[in-house]
């Protein structure tokens, strides 16, 4: 961070400068990660107490979790991370159609994930009031679903902007930021799927 403090006739406030050891962007990302860790952490803590401390059977009989449907959904979500990565790599090389195709595929796969989860909820056979197991299941998967919904909203705007030609090889921050969020949503799903469905 170079600075050159010339004392000349200056109009307006001094040049922007952050009196901190880290830049605002990095600080913002740290705060975001910290808030998400606390949010998901509180739900995982509840999960831990219900399942490990209280010893509640998981899933509590007679209920069953649709592990294989969720596995297919996991594959869809992970694949969507590959397509969003592809879209960013495309626009970095100036390939606008690669960007558009990548974002459109990502959006469609994210939408498929959310619709599949909604269908899973409607057919799962238990509700939020059916014991601690059911409550934690809906809380954790629902919290993640809310993140997917937010991610889809971001992806929708990214896709519209991509088709309107707002991104180029030099200017694609909107794709980069949205991609980071989408990968984060994927990471959280891997953790949720592993703990809720597999273990």
């Amino acid at each position: 961070m170079a600075a050159h403090a010339e004392h000349v006739e200056h109009h307006g406030p001094p040049a922007p400068h952050y009196s901190s050891r880290i830049t605002p962007g990095v600080l913002g990302m740290f705060l975001f990660i910290a808030s998400e860790i606390m949010l998901f952490g509180s739900f995982f803590t509840a999960y831990f107490f219900v399942r490990v401390v209280n010893g509640t059977p998981w899933p509590t009989p007679p209920y069953h979790l649709p592990v294989y449907v969720a596995f297919v959904n996991t594959c869809i979500l992970v694949t969507s991370s590959f397509t969003v990565h592809w879209s960013l790599q495309s626009i970095k090389r100036g390939n606008v159609w690669g960007l558009r195709a990548g974002l459109l595929l990502t959006f469609l796969m994210g939408l498929t994930f959310l619709i599949t989860q909604a269908v899973e909820y409607s057919r799962i056979g238990f509700n939020t009031s059916d014991g601690a197991f059911a409550t934690i299941f809906f809380c954790l998967t629902g919290l993640h679903g809310a993140h997917v919904f937010v991610g889809l909203s971001i992806l929708l705007f990214m896709t519209i902007r991509a088709f309107r030609g707002h991104f180029s090889a030099e200017h694609h921050d909107g794709v980069e930021i949205g991609g980071i969020y989408w990968h984060f949503v994927d990471v959280m799903w891997i953790v949720v799927y592993l703990t809720v469905y597999i273990l």
Binding site: M1, H7, M29, V84, G179, V191, L199
Partner: protein
């Protein structure tokens, strides 16, 4: 520690690492519950180690040193003094002097925001030193001497910096600027 979500490619790599870790944990847990727990501990430790060891882009680059210029015919002096400093001598040729006293706080005080007393102490020192110097005004600076100089030079171009403090205090200011630094 490296931020795994600093850029999209880094977030993508982090996702891949998490998937591999999840597969290892699931495989181990399938064999034995405690083996799964052990795999989870090792996987989390491995990811933390990876994030700590991974070089942060640009982190090893030397911080650029600050330069500063002033109008012709003036000699502006920036005085940086530790809280509690009783007096500072500045050369007679100074046309304008700014005294900056960093509000030095401990880590606990910084984390808890318990900085009011330290800032008051710094303000008292700055006011007393400025009152004893001609054409001077006093200010409270950031909680780090180098950062306080950094802040001050952005709004007050100086020809010279006078530092009143211990060796470490002086060394940190010298490492940050490319203008003459003298010790009071």
């Amino acid at each position: 520690m490296k931020n795994p979500l600093r850029s999209e490619p880094e977030a993508f790599r982090f996702l891949m690492a998490v998937i591999v870790g999840a597969l290892v944990i699931a495989g181990a847990a399938y064999v034995n519950t405690w083996l799964g727990v052990a795999a989870a501990v090792i996987a989390v430790a491995g990811v933390v180690w990876w994030l700590r060891e991974e070089p942060i882009p640009g982190a090893s680059d030397a911080t650029p040193r600050l330069v500063s210029t002033t109008p012709a015919g003036t000699h502006r002096v920036l005085v940086v003094a530790a809280p509690g400093t009783e007096s500072v001598q500045v050369g007679n040729g100074a046309t304008e002097v700014v005294v900056v006293v960093p509000a030095l706080v401990s880590i606990v005080e910084s984390l808890t925001g318990d900085v009011d007393n330290r800032r008051e102490e710094a303000a008292r020192t700055a006011a007393a030193l400025a009152a004893a110097l001609p054409n001077a005004r006093g200010e409270v600076g950031a909680d780090d001497p180098a950062l306080a100089v950094d802040d001050a030079l952005r709004v007050f171009g100086a020809d010279e910096i006078v530092v009143a403090g211990d060796d470490d205090f002086v060394r940190r200011v010298r490492s940050r600027v490319a203008i003459p630094v003298t010790r009071a």
